[in-house]
Amino acid sequence: MTNAIEASGLVKRFGKTTALAGADLVARPGTVLGVLGPNGAGKTTAVRILATLLRPDGGQARVCGYDVGRQAHQVRQLIGLTGQYASVDEGLSGINNLIMIGRLLGESRSQARARASELLERFGLTDAAGRPVKTYSGGMRRRLDLAASLVGRPRVLYLDEPTTGLDPRSRSEVWDMIRALVADGVTVLLTTQYLDEADQLAHDIVVIDHGKVIATGTPDELKDKSGGQVLEVVPADRDLLTVAAAVLAGRTGSVPATDADTGLVRVPVVDAALLPAIIRELDEARVELAEFTLRRASLDEVFLALTGGLGQPDPGNDETRELERSPR
């Protein structure tokens, strides 16, 4: 069976910066592949290569069996692209943007108009159809971007951070649209910084850092992989926070995270059989407990464990993005 996306050993350098250092990606037909990674990890570069916008310096990639380099024209007939780039024309109205794309894809004037109206209706933009896009709100803009990428009825859809900067309601609307597309058999490659988004939508996840794939699996597999569970302890007396932390460190062998504001100590736990011993030792140290919880690790914690940080200010990141946009 042909995979919708199959990339192996992708390498891309921009001057001295290595954006991709041999990344492999596979998306099964009709599923969502979530690509996670901190800013500048190489996600956008990977999408641009798969969308025929960039040529890789090494490795190869196929979309529905077509090579993105040698058969770029075929690939372009199969894909749709939505993201921080691949934007719509701000100077045109919403409907004219969609008509333009329909005409470029070979539709007649009336076909293009009908398809545009249908998509605007579906994305709740009928009222704003005649307005220039520059007057649209962020959420409307994003929905139009998505509509624009669907004019050609793509088999494979690239969504590069489709909900960044959206309010929670708009975000869940975009999620519903993505689910509907997947139900129609579309394969989606989704890059995101929001782990709950990947958790909600993705069938498979690839975590990229420094241009390399550092983990792959289903959301559940990834959660299991990184220890799986998290123990959270809140001492009744805040002064005993460090004592409690020391006990947890000694028993689990990991360094616990402490939060002085909430009085919380958190540590990953691999073996649940340790818990009775931990409780006993806390009791012996006279740490009275306000809270003692064992829960499954969230994808955020998995991600932190894998990449050693997310969302920290990264001075190199703007530069990398700039390089990704305009090589040379």
Binding site: M1, T2, P29, G30, A51, T52, L53, C64, G65, Y66, Q71, H73, Q74, V75, R76, Q77, L78, I79, L81, G83, Q84, Y85, A86, S87, V88, D89, E90, G91, L92, S93, N96, M100, I101, R103, L104, L105, G106, P132, A148, G152, R155, G185, S326, P327, R328
Partner: protein, 268 residues
């Protein structure tokens, strides 16, 4: 197995030249639509020639040729050249915005001819040049300019202007590709165009200029184009300056169109 799970048509292996032309015309339609919907652009496009005409006619006429009408007859062909030359800057600006705003990335992810977005931008700008020429000529006539030749030669004069603009806009396109921001495009565009426009016989006869400047004026293509326009609109020699203008247009096109296309390929 593949066809069973993915019931779609097999994608075409390549794109025919007719489809490429169609793509280019769709994108020309887009450029024209943008002119129509962008009020600021439209106001600038129409008011700039009117402003130039009023300023140059009434500020310079007394000093240069002693009378408004005489100077208007002299300067109007030059102002036509000037407005069209400045209008070519729009090509570079639009291309620059399209690249920076990600519109070109969308185009490049579509199965369309690679050259269509560039051709569409350039062809769409022809409409802008026509508007500039029509307003300059029309308002000039309101102020008292009279065509001293024939309507046919006036039309030829306009066509010559458009031909030259069609070549010159590739310089603008190249600047639009090489420079990062629209502000940069504007700055480099003006730096390139001001010496060409003012270092010529466009607004004043060259005789009063120092020798070194006269030498520059002589080789400046704007001088040839302005002389040709004068010949076609108010009378005088046409053949040599018109031929030189066409050769310049051809030369500019042959050099800058491939450079712009190359820069476009690289930048995107």
């Amino acid at each position: 197995m593949t066809t069973a799970t993915l019931p779609y048509a097999t994608p075409a292996a390549r794109l025919g030249p007719v489809t490429g032309l169609r793509n280019a015309f769709t994108l020309t339609w887009r450029s024209v639509l943008k002119i129509r919907t962008n009020m600021e652009d439209l106001i600038g496009l129409s008011l700039q020639p009117i402003m130039f005409l009023l300023l140059f006619t009434y500020v310079f006429s007394g000093a240069i040729s002693g009378g408004t009408h005489a100077y208007l007859q002299f300067e109007l062909p030059g102002l036509l050249v000037m407005t069209v030359v400045f209008a070519t800057l729009g090509t570079g600006l639009m291309l620059n915005q399209d690249i920076a705003g990600g519109v070109f990335d969308r185009f490049r992810s579509l199965p369309i001819a690679r050259w269509a977005p560039l051709a569409g931008a350039v062809l769409g700008d022809m409409v802008r040049y026509m508007i500039s020429v029509a307003i300059t000529l029309g308002f000039g006539m309101v102020l008292g300019f009279r065509i001293g030749t024939s309507p046919v030669s006036a039309v030829v004069g306009c066509l010559l202007l458009l031909t030259f603009a069609l070549a010159l806009c590739w310089v603008s396109a190249l600047i639009g590709m090489l420079v990062k921001t629209p502000q940069g495009v504007q700055m480099y565009g003006f730096l390139a165009m001001f010496p060409l426009v003012f270092g010529s016989n466009l607004l004043v006869p060259a005789q009063t200029m120092p020798g070194w400047l006269q030498a520059f004026v002589k080789v400046n293509p704007m001088t040839d184009l302005t002389s040709a326009e004068r010949g076609l609109l108010t009378g005088g020699p046409i053949g040599t300056p018109a031929l030189h203008s066409l050769l310049w247009a051809l030369g500019i096109f042959v050099v800058f169109a491939p450079l712009a296309v190359r820069a476009y390929r690289r930048r995107t």
